[in-house]
């Protein structure tokens, strides 16, 4: 799926790419009135983040949306980045597929160089107006221009160009108007997009002013700029004939052999020689002379030769710390798990890395109007850029649905206050379409996300079962406390000892008994299951006794505890559901636990 745009590109470059996209604007994400506006915000924010990070600046981004008329809005985007010099401004905003990133194997949010220019075109075809750029450069120069795209030639048209000095203005400001778009605060709107961006980019401050003039600020949670992604050479596995020809045509090498060694990762001199034995042509000819058939031969050779796995240290994940801080700041969850997995490879040669975070309680989950409970919320990201649309077709959604959440004490994941955050980092994210809203279902990526989710699930489980045990304990404590007053009163009558003193002492005894239990559990900490069993065993020996003593009264005992019994039945079911795989305690003990629960109650 990498190659949708590539195919389009090769097929249409003789004509105008711009013309093609004008007719197929849905490919760029401009479908639906709400989605279009979100796409615009996405393109601008993405560009700003990439620009700031490349210049090692902590990003400060402001997005302002003004309503001008019915389905007519103005979007203002401002950042504190390095600004756009005159020579790149036209390409960046007025020419499709002209970005600096398309042919680079580098992990960045924007990938194909359609984004901001796509917005310029969308503005132009819905309002007839140009897009305004105000660019404050490092040296204090301000460059202003209005940008349009000459659709027939796919070339920028710059008008009203101005250059002046102003030390105050830094960074890039883009102002553009759009029609046939709508603003809303829903799940697919710009606000949600910005909130999600803030979550995945804790080093960023984002201000958002909505059409009602309401200002929302997402403050940065960490002061650390992520490292600049390094360009990486492509790994031979996963190359297509077209990829090879494109690279060969641009190569400065004199021979194909040296082209192979300089333009690809993991090809040493001896590997190059080995490739030579697999192909019918001479590796000593010039790369530019490589023909399609020969490139295909080479792809075949790459398939049959073993290469070292690609380096993965080019990938820049968000990081445990950063993600934790961002999730805490924005969701204030009762429980948070963050899982960073090691980099893996899909399609034989493309490295990727998965990060997962799971927030439970607090503001986690999607709140539903008129309902008190929250529902599950899945936040999908590719290279930290939120994916808002096409959730159904995305590998992340598939992975979430392939996890058996019941194992992790979430009986109904859909109705739980849970936010699931998944970020896939890769120099080449396999999007399902040029709109870049969903990741295709590569087996390796699916499996990796699923494993990460299960990791997080296990952490959540131990939190939830700890919480459940605590509640259980509280409940038991209350049982004892309930009977204190009558017992004290009767003992006062029998002995004359003050009821108040007896009540107080009994409360202390109950209290310290539960403190002991808590302490014992703390000692066993890190192994919650063991602590639970421990408790169960002590109580069990007691209840064995009861069984003998209370044989004659057992029926009434059960009657009066009928209500509690049904609770333990539930627990039993929950236990059965959660006990699986590696976490299964010995069956014997499990039964004991259940038995105990019932007896004790």
């Amino acid at each position: 799926m990498i190659d949708i745009t590539d195919e389009i590109f090769s097929e249409f470059k003789e004509h105008s790419v711009a013309e093609f996209f004008k007719k197929n604007k849905q490919m760029l994400g401009f479908t639906g009135k709400v989605k279009s506006l979100t796409t615009i915000v996405h393109e601008y924010v993405t560009n700003s983040l990439d620009a700031c990070e490349e210049a090692s600046i902590l990003p400060d981004i402001t997005i302002k949306i003004d309503k001008i008329g019915n389905e007519h809005y103005r979007v203002t985007s401002r950042d504190n980045g390095p600004g756009m010099p005159k020579k790149v401004a036209g390409k960046a905003l007025g020419q499709l597929l002209a970005g600096t990133k398309f042919h680079r194997r580098i992990q960045s949010r924007g990938q194909q160089g359609i984004g901001a220019s796509g917005c310029t075109m969308f503005s132009q075809i819905t309002t007839g107006k140009s897009t305004k750029l105000i660019s404050g450069l490092e040296n204090g120069t301000i460059y202003e221009t209005d940008v349009k795209i000459d659709v027939k030639r796919n070339m920028p048209e710059l008008t009203n160009e101005k250059e002046y000095k102003d030390e105050e203005i830094k960074g890039t400001t883009i102002i553009a108007e759009f029609k046939t778009v709508t603003y809303n605060k829903g799940e697919y709107g710009p606000l949600e997009y910005i909130k999600r961006t803030a979550l995945a980019n804790p080093h960023t401050t984002i201000r958002f002013e909505d059409p009602d003039g309401e200002l929302l600020i997402f403050e940065r949670a960490v002061e650390k700029i992520p490292p600049v992604p390094k360009e990486m050479l492509p790994h031979p596995k996963g190359m297509t004939a077209d990829d090879i020809l494109t690279r060969a045509s641009k190569s400065n090498a004199y021979k194909i052999k040296s082209f192979l060694m300089t333009d690809f990762a993991r090809i040493s001199s001896s590997k190059a020689n080995e490739i030579g034995t697999h192909v019918s042509f001479d590796l000593n000819k010039r790369p530019q002379e490589l023909k399609w058939d020969e490139a295909e031969e080479m792809v075949e050779a790459f398939k049959n030769i073993k290469f070292m796995a690609p380096e993965t240290n080019f990938l820049i994940p968000i990081g445990d710390n950063q993600l934790t801080k961002a999730m805490q700041q924005i969701l204030e969850p009762e429980f948070l798990a963050v899982v960073e997995r090691n980099a893996q490879i899909y399609r034989g040669g493309v490295p990727f890395q998965v990060e997962v975070s799971l927030g439970y309680g607090g503001k986690a989950g999607r709140s539903v109007e008129k309902e008190e409970t929250s529902k599950v919320e899945v936040l999908r990201y590719a290279n930290r850029a939120p994916l808002l649309f096409d959730g159904g077709g995305c590998v992340i959604s598939q992975a979430v649905s392939k996890v058996d959440w019941k194992r992790y004490e979430l009986r109904n994941i859909n109705e739980s206050p849970v936010t699931i955050f998944v970020n896939v980092s890769s120099a080449h994210i396999p999007y399902t379409s040029a709109g870049k809203q969903a990741i295709s279902d590569e087996d390796e990526i699916l499996e990796e996300i699923r494993n990460a989710l299960m990791d997080a699930g296990r952490k959540l489980k131990s939190h939830l079962s700890g919480k459940r045990r605590l509640l259980e304990k509280e409940r038991k404590k209350k049982i004892f406390e309930k009977y204190i007053p009558e017992t004290a009163k009767s003992l006062e009558f029998l002995t004359g000892t003050s009821k108040t003193i007896l009540e107080q002492k009994l409360e202390e005894i109950v209290g310290s008994r539960f403190a002991e239990l808590a302490e014992a559990e703390a000692l066993e900490n890190g192994n919650g299951e063991a602590a639970q069993e421990n408790e169960a065993v002590t109580l069990d020996s007691e209840s064995q006794e009861d069984k003998i003593t209370d044989e004659n009264t057992i029926t009434e005992e059960h009657e009066k505890t009928g209500e509690l019994d049904s609770e333990s039945q539930e627990d039993k079911i929950a236990n059965e559901n959660t006990i699986t795989e590696e976490e299964t305690p010995p069956a014997e003990k499990r039964e004991n636990t259940d038995e105990t629960e019932k007896e004790v109650k």
């Binding site: 038991k476 049982i479 004892f480 309930k482 009977y483 007053p485 009558e486 017992t487 009163k489 009767s490 003992l491 009558f493 029998l494 002995t495 000892t497 007896l502 002492k505 009994l506 202390e508 005894i509 109950v510 310290s512 008994r513 109580l539 007691e542 209840s543 006794e545 009861d546 003998i548 003593t549 209370d550 044989e551 004659n552 009264t553 009434e556 005992e557 009657e559 009066k560 007896e599 004790v600 109650k601």
Partner: protein, 376 residues
């Protein structure tokens, strides 16, 4: 009358605990727990275990005895706490009854103590079996009879015959109280027997049979006192029989249905019951004899056509009784149980009416008793 204990007690009332002693006992029961609480120990007390596992049959004395088994009742044990509270409540209630010299019924005790717990919808007691079971515990662990704790067993059963009894200031002869005789109350500790003309006591299961024997004036013709428990003999009746037996040295002869339930009534009378094994000394009459109905009566008196078929529940009971040591190790009784199981039939007392209404009084009982055709 060879029972040495019976002789020692003869002509003197059994020593009854004074109210003061009972109050002391209750208060030291409480004090024991208060001491534990003051020492910051989770309070607990012991109750002799009253289940079949802790019952043994004393071959020598021919009584059921409670074993050494004791169970703890701990306040800090979610399964005990409620019962713990209930026990202290019943103890303090009994103390107040003894103080006020009032005696309550089992159900009165329940209603007296029933209320909801503070800040809870839960009741202190949900029914009188709860308070009853706690009372049993208390009786057992303090070794004081429930009647001495001023809680009465339900009165049921009656006595008829030439015996003069004094109770609560009244004196009466049990053959002069109309058709029914004297209704035996739950508490008979305070009775005095001023006169008695009888050679033995006939303990009868069925009150209709009792009426028949009263009408036939059997008490006169056989020279006996008739006592019925109207089914399983209640505590009052059993205690009454024991008192009569001890004070008057009269043998007790049991006349019950020829079925597992009749057999068990006899065994309770003779050896004590599983439930009250700790009180066998106060209730059981180890010399009691069994006159009928027996499996052999069916042949002897040609009663085959008035037998009843055994149901599954009856067979289960037979199997259970065959495992009781006092039946299992007694060939006479094992034979009866086996015969019953083999034939698959049982015989009721009133089946004798098939011969004639008078048959039981004119033929059956005189013949069997005079010839001492007893099972033992």
């Amino acid at each position: 009358m060879t029972d040495s204990k019976g002789k020692a007690l003869s002509n003197s009332k059994e020593k009854v605990l004074s109210n003061e002693e009972i109050l002391n006992s209750l208060s030291s029961f409480g004090k024991n727990m208060v001491d534990q609480i003051k020492n910051e120990e989770p309070p607990k007390f012991f109750v002799p275990t009253r289940t079949q596992t802790n019952i043994r049959y004393d071959e020598e004395k021919r009584l059921l005895r409670l074993g050494e088994g004791k169970s703890e009742r701990k306040f800090i044990n979610a399964a005990h706490t409620r019962k713990f509270m209930q026990t202290t409540m019943v103890a303090s209630a009994c103390m107040s009854y003894v103080n006020a010299e009032k005696t309550v019924g089992k159900r009165e005790l329940y209603y007296n103590l029933k209320h909801s717990l503070p800040n809870s919808k839960e009741n202190t007691f949900d029914d009188d079996t709860e308070s009853g079971s706690v009372l049993d515990d208390l009786e057992c662990s303090l070794d004081i009879l429930r009647s001495q704790l001023h809680v009465n067993a339900k009165g049921r059963g009656s006595v008829y015959g030439d015996i003069t009894i004094k109770q609560a200031g009244d004196e009466f002869n049990c053959s002069g109280l109309g058709r029914g005789g004297w209704l035996i109350p739950g508490n008979v500790e305070d009775i005095e027997i001023t006169n008695c003309n009888a050679d033995f006591i006939l303990a009868i299961e069925n009150d209709a049979m009792m009426s028949r024997l009263i009408e036939e004036k059997t008490w006169k013709s056989l020279g006996c006192i008739l006592v019925t428990g109207e089914g399983m003999f209640p505590r009052g009746v059993r205690r009454f029989l024991k008192i009569l037996y001890e004070r008057l040295k009269l043998p007790v002869i049991t006349f019950v249905d020829g079925d597992p339930y009749g057999f068990y009534i006899y065994s309770v009378l003779k050896y004590g019951s599983i439930n009250l094994a700790h009180l066998s000394d106060k209730y059981a009459v180890p010399t009691a004899k069994y006159v009928g109905m027996t499996m052999d009566d069916i042949e002897t008196y040609n009663l085959k056509n008035v037998t009843e078929k055994l149901k599954d529940i009856d067979r289960n009971r037979i199997n259970e009784e065959m495992r009781y040591p006092w039946f299992k190790n007694n060939p006479v009784w094992l034979r009866q149980l086996k015969l019953m199981a083999e034939k698959g039939i049982r015989i009721e007392q009133q089946a004798l009416a098939n011969k004639s209404l008078e048959f039981v009084a004119s033929t059956y009982l005189p013949e069997k008793i005079e010839n001492e055709m007893f099972l033992d």
